[in-house]
């Protein structure tokens, strides 16, 4: 990919196609944040609790990075009350972050990005890219690529993907997904949704394999 970038002038059309498909398919799928208050099972249930830090980073990606990149977060130097206030505001502004998650994130952020924290702004830019590479959320016994259920996929898409990919997946900030060739490219589709690509965050912390399959199945029904 890096080599591609360097040879941009020669390969622009190829790269445009590739990046558009890869980057944007991913982003949109993720953008809505799974809502764990709907009672639906989400990938969050299957998050390993091995590390609070990793868990908090995943939350940052899943709850915050759908709307803005994390460099905006890590350049702040705020007190705990300021972080709590910010998280409250973000919830009012549409971030689907529960009270428990807000507490977890406020503690995580205040411990690292407090008024006394060091770090130049240049370092901050690096930190922001040090996002965790999330693992595919597969519950025990669940097939890697389960059979998708289009009816479930439609509501999941509405909760998670519409802000970027638009109603009916017709495109918006992210690319159009209806009839997008990536839908039939299993490897790329799953890699993009799970791991994120470009501006699209990784969704594997938020959507489990069944839910991803459901969304894919619904997208395939679109004309």
């Amino acid at each position: 990919m890096i080599r591609l970038m360097r040879r941009w002038g020669h390969t622009r059309p190829t790269v445009i196609g590739l990046v558009t498909v890869l980057v944007f398919v991913g982003i949109p799928l993720v953008i809505g944040f799974a809502d764990d208050r709907t009672g639906e099972s989400t990938g969050k249930d299957s998050l390993p609790s091995v590390s609070d830090e990793q868990d908090s980073k995943r939350l940052l990606m899943a709850r915050c990075a759908v709307c803005h990149s994390t460099d905006l977060i890590v350049q702040q130097r705020l007190t705990l009350p300021q972080w709590i206030k910010t998280l409250n505001k973000m919830e009012r502004w549409g971030a689907q972050v529960s009270s428990a998650e807000q507490t977890q994130l406020a503690n995580y952020l205040a411990a690292r990005y407090h008024p006394g924290a060091s770090g130049s702004l240049e370092q901050v830019a690096q930190d922001s890219l040090d996002a965790p590479v999330t693992q595919p959320a597969i519950s025990p016994g669940m097939p890697e690529h389960p059979e998708g259920r289009p009816d479930h996929g439609q509501s999941l898409f509405g909760q998670n993907c519409v802000p970027c990919h638009g109603p009916a997946a017709a495109g918006g900030m992210g690319p159009k997904l209806a009839k997008n060739p990536i839908l039939t490219d299993e490897r790329r589709f799953w890699a993009t949704v799970r791991q994120g690509r470009g501006a699209m965050p990784a969704w594997s912390a938020m959507l489990n394999a069944q839910e991803i399959a459901d969304i894919q199945a619904w997208l395939k029904t679109l004309e």
Binding site: M1, I2, M5, W8, R12, V15, I16, L18, V19, T20, V23, F24, I31, V66, C67, H68, S69, D71, L72, Q75, Q76, R77, L78, Q82, T86, R92, W93, G94, A95, P115, L121, V124, A125, Q126, D127, S128, L129, D130, V133, P163, C164, G172, M173, G198, A199
Partner: protein, 400 residues
């Protein structure tokens, strides 16, 4: 933070992909000439003249050495918005409309062609983010941590807002003009970037509906096809991707007018309870200067050095720039050079002849015709606005 090979390569990949440019759209989605301007050869994936502060939505400030040029080029001009640009297909001449409504005699919907029928006019003006320099406030203020470069000087061309307002007929009860652009947040629960300016500023003959920047159609990142330019005022009034103008009796409602972009007058101590009545909107810029050359950290040879920079103020004129090379004990006047236009910045020079090697700090401060001089540190305010502390750089004078 532990790094394995995978995270390094992923980081390198992301750095390449997102590191400098309008990453809202990711590399390749939009053509560089659309993002940065027709004459730009700037690749989308990295802009050496800009420092990215937020990758998405894209916010970036200009490297101060770029200000050696009187006009800041379009692809080096700082980029700031709350939600990133709207999809380009929403702002094509075919679909784009400017709606003028509210307390007017004749609400109108204007195309770009309609706008072009008004008299054309140009103003060279500084546009600066209200939060430029926020990173220097102590205690820290939340928000994008801009340092010195969220500012630029450009020639803006378009039509007078007052001509358009005269055309629709503004009713006497209209006291404010509310502006809305075509940019939208990801979540519909996020407030829109609704702003307003008092009618007096709206009908000022120098307030423009700008279609061009430095002689080119506005690039997407700078508000294509139309943005408001309020010379002398901070950038929060210079709404990009402008689509709706509403004449109304009151200020705009909502977060971006009622809460954000306000500061206490008089200033308060950090932690003090704020009285909403004392919170004034950020409007005019305050007097400010920057040292453009040498760059901070430069190693200089013993002997005469030309210290150069720029200085500007809000609705007034910069009358002096002083330089100190002894930590502010003594100050000497710099000399103005180049063009002198009402809302543009002034370039200045100062010949310094260091006689001793060693680490030195160079300070610059400007004074305007209202008698305002840059303080060492600006009054703290919770939003971190209006920083205009004395600019300073460190250099090392070498003996040989």
């Amino acid at each position: 933070m532990s790094l394995d090979k995978r995270s390094v390569s992923r980081r390198a990949f992301l750095g390449q992909l997102l590191g400098g440019a309008a990453a809202t759209w990711a590399a390749g989605y939009l053509r560089p000439e659309l993002l940065w301007g027709q004459s730009s050869k700037q690749e989308p994936q990295g802009n050496p003249g800009l420092i990215t502060r937020v990758t998405r939505p894209f916010d970036a400030e200009t490297r101060v050495q770029e200000f050696a040029s009187y006009l800041t080029s379009n692809d080096r001009f700082f980029v700031r918005s709350h939600f990133g640009p709207p999809p380009p297909e929403q702002i094509t001449a075919k679909v784009w409309r400017l709606h003028v409504k509210g307390l007017v005699d004749q609400p109108l919907e204007l195309t770009m062609e309609d706008l072009a029928k008004f008299d054309g006019v140009s103003v060279t003006a500084v546009v600066q983010c209200g939060g430029n320099g926020r990173a220097f406030h102590r205690p820290r203020a939340p928000g994008v941590q801009w340092e010195r470069g969220a500012v630029g000087n450009a020639k803006w061309t378009g039509v007078r807002l007052r001509d358009v307002l005269s055309h629709v007929g503004v009713q006497s009860s209209a006291r404010h003009l509310q502006m809305l652009g075509a940019d939208r947040p990801v979540s519909t629960m996020t407030p829109l970037f609704l702003r307003s300016i008092p009618i007096e500023k709206a009908i000022h003959p120098d307030t423009l509906l700008a279609t061009h920047m430095n002689g080119e159609p506005l690039p997407l990142l700078h508000g294509a096809p139309l943005r408001l330019i309020t010379p002398g005022w901070m950038g929060d009034a210079c709404v990009k991707w402008l689509t709706v103008l509403t004449l109304q009796a009151e200020e705009a409602k909502g977060f971006y007018m009622e809460t954000a972009y306000r500061y206490p007058v008089p200033p308060v101590e950090p932690g003090t309870a704020l009285n909403p009545r004392d919170m004034k909107p950020v409007e005019a810029m305050v007097v400010k200067s920057l040292i453009v050359s040498p760059v901070s950290g430069a190693a200089l040879k013993l002997g005469p050095v030309t210290v150069e920079g720029v200085a500007w103020t809000g609705e007034g004129k910069v009358v002096t720039v002083e330089v100190s090379v002894d930590d502010g004990q003594t100050w000497e006047n710099a000399r103005f050079v180049g063009e002198d236009a009402p809302y543009a910045w002034r370039q200045w020079q100062f010949i310094w002849n260091p006689r001793q090697p060693g680490a030195r700090t160079i300070l610059a401060r400007a004074t305007d015709d209202h008698g305002q001089t840059q303080p060492m540190a600006s009054p703290w305010n919770p939003g971190g606005f209006l920083w205009n502390g004395v600019d300073h750089i460190q250099v090392e004078v070498k003996s040989a």
